[in-house]
Structure formats: structure tokens, C-alpha cells
Symmetry: C2
Subunit: 167 residues, 2 copies
């Protein structure tokens, strides 16, 4: 089987290859951006395969993750965090509630608002799924030398800082 030079998927869409370089100064950032982008796509595509084991769709897992790690949220906050519109989150939240992964209660201070929080069951399911993802990635990292792992770790630090300041 020939190795594909470019792969894409549902979570990614646009991909590889070197763009036409314009100014001299940003040639390097463009090239690194291109390869980093591609690597991120392929990496997530692979770890995401573990998610089927949870029996839940990506939107629910993602919203649940925000609830588990970010604490209770109103529907609007959850929609904003997930970058979806309120009607979409309305259905996702209802789905989580129907599966007993979250509970939805009225806000005592403002009857318009809904408070949504993860249940212990939701927490367990999320942790299990997340563990599968991380474990599958860690298993791959295991072949690296300590030096490579260290370099990778340092690069992640750079990325974390970048993401922190991203507009």
C-alpha cells in the first residue's frame, strides 16, 4: 500500500504541502505552520479512534469535558465554550441529561438560566475515554529516546504559551 502524502478527515479538513512563499521573513513560520498543522491533524485523527469505546458522539464528549474540567455552566456558557449556537447546545445538553451524564437545573437567581453539571457517571465516562486517548498516544511516544521526549516536551511548552496568547 502506498503511503499517502496527505490525509484528512472530519475533524480537520484542510491539509499539507508547502504554500507559495511570499516574503522572505515569514518563509520559515509558514513552512513550520504547514507541517505542524498536518502533524496535529494526523495525531488527533489517530487518538480519536479510541472514542468509539465511550458510546457517545464527539459533541457530547466535548461538552461533557468542559463540564468535568471547567465545572457547572449555564447553557449559554457551554455553547460559547464549544463555539456552537444555543439551539445546538440545547440538544447536546438534553442528550447528556438523557444519558444521565449531566443534570440540568433551573438557576435559582435567574429563572431564564439553566445550570448544567456533570454527574459522577459523566465524570467516569469522560475520564475513561480520555484515558484511552492519552494512553494510545503515550504508547506511541514510548518508542522515543529520553532526549526526543524532552525536545517534544519543550516544543509543547512553546505551543502552550502560543495558545495562551492567541487572539
Amino acid at each position: 500500500m502506498p503511503r499517502r502524502t496527505s490525509i484528512n478527515n472530519q475533524q480537520s479538513a484542510i491539509n499539507n504541502r508547502i504554500p507559495g512563499a511570499t516574503a522572505r521573513s515569514n518563509l520559515a513560520p509558514l513552512a513550520v505552520a504547514d507541517r505542524l498543522h498536518s502533524a496535529a491533524i494526523h495525531l488527533l485523527r489517530r487518538v480519536r479512534k479510541q472514542d468509539v469505546a465511550t458510546g457517545e458522539g464527539p459533541a457530547r464528549l466535548s461538552a461533557l469535558s468542559v463540564l468535568v474540567f471547567g465545572g457547572p455552566k449555564t447553557l449559554g456558557e457551554l455553547a460559547a465554550a464549544e463555539q456552537v449556537k444555543p439551539p445546538t447546545m440545547s440538544r447536546i445538553a438534553a442528550g447528556l441529561a438523557s444519558r444521565r451524564l449531566a443534570v440540568i437545573t433551573a438557576d435559582p437567581r435567574d429563572a431564564r438560566r439553566l445550570n448544567i453539571r456533570a454527574t459522577p457517571k459523566g465524570r467516569r465516562l469522560l475520564q475513561k475515554g480520555r484515558q484511552l486517548r492519552i494512553a494510545s498516544l503515550a504508547a506511541q511516544l514510548d518508542v522515543l529516546t529520553p532526549d526526543e521526549l524532552h525536545k517534544l516536551s519543550k516544543a509543547v511548552e512553546i505551543l502552550e504559551r502560543l495558545l495562551d496568547h492567541w487572539v
Copy 2:
């Protein structure tokens, strides 16, 4: 606004936080896997925002990308590349054809097969979208020092090698 320690989205689902370390030897891989995973999620989530400008959904953009960078494919090949089932790809391909982003022809050698190839219009649309993604990422990388950029580049090399040998 407080910074969320963990974010997730449609393309990601499961996320951050340090898992319970078990054996001593794989503590580091697990920790790096965790942060790398999270960084990849956040990075793609941000660049993906550019995709709306293309006017096409993620599945179509992704399939189109395979066609543009990998050349013509049969429906089955495309389905395999995208990790979806044939009926799903059948509709995606029909969608691409209806938008004149790809053409579907019968294989002259085997009448059961369909040959799907990107049109010039499809190529242009993909390149435009991809450019927006890469440019938005490159713009962020631009704040890095040459040394940081170099370290990032080296880490991407490690990742590329890892992905190459991934089962």
C-alpha cells in the same frame, strides 16, 4: 474572564489533566502525551475557524483535500482514506460533484468502480481554505524567536516520524 484550564470541541472530544501515573517508566510519556494532545486540540480548533470562508462542510473539504493532494481515487479508496463507510462517501462525493469541486466518472476497466477527481475549481477552493488555515497559524508562530521556531520544527520532525510508524 477566567482562563479555562481545559477546552474541547467538536473535533476533539476528550481532553487535558494529568492521568494517574502507574509505572515509573511511562510517567513521562503519559505526561507529554497529555499536553501534546491538548495542544493539538486547541491549535486545530483555532485554525479551523478559517474554514467557514470556504462555504463547504468539513467532510467535503477533507475528501477534496485527499483528491487534490493524493490524485484521483475510487469511491472505496476515498472512503478508506477518510475512514468512513462507502454510503457516507457516496454522499460526500455526490456533494462535491454537485458543487463542481470534483467530477465522477465510471472506470473504463471496471464498470463497478467510480473515478473521482478534483476539478480546477475544487483545487482553487481547497488551496484558498488551506492557505487561510496555515496563514492564521503562521501569523501566531511569527512571534517566536528563531530558536523557538527551530525547536518547534525539530519536534514536528519527531512527530512526523512517529506518525509514519504509527500502527
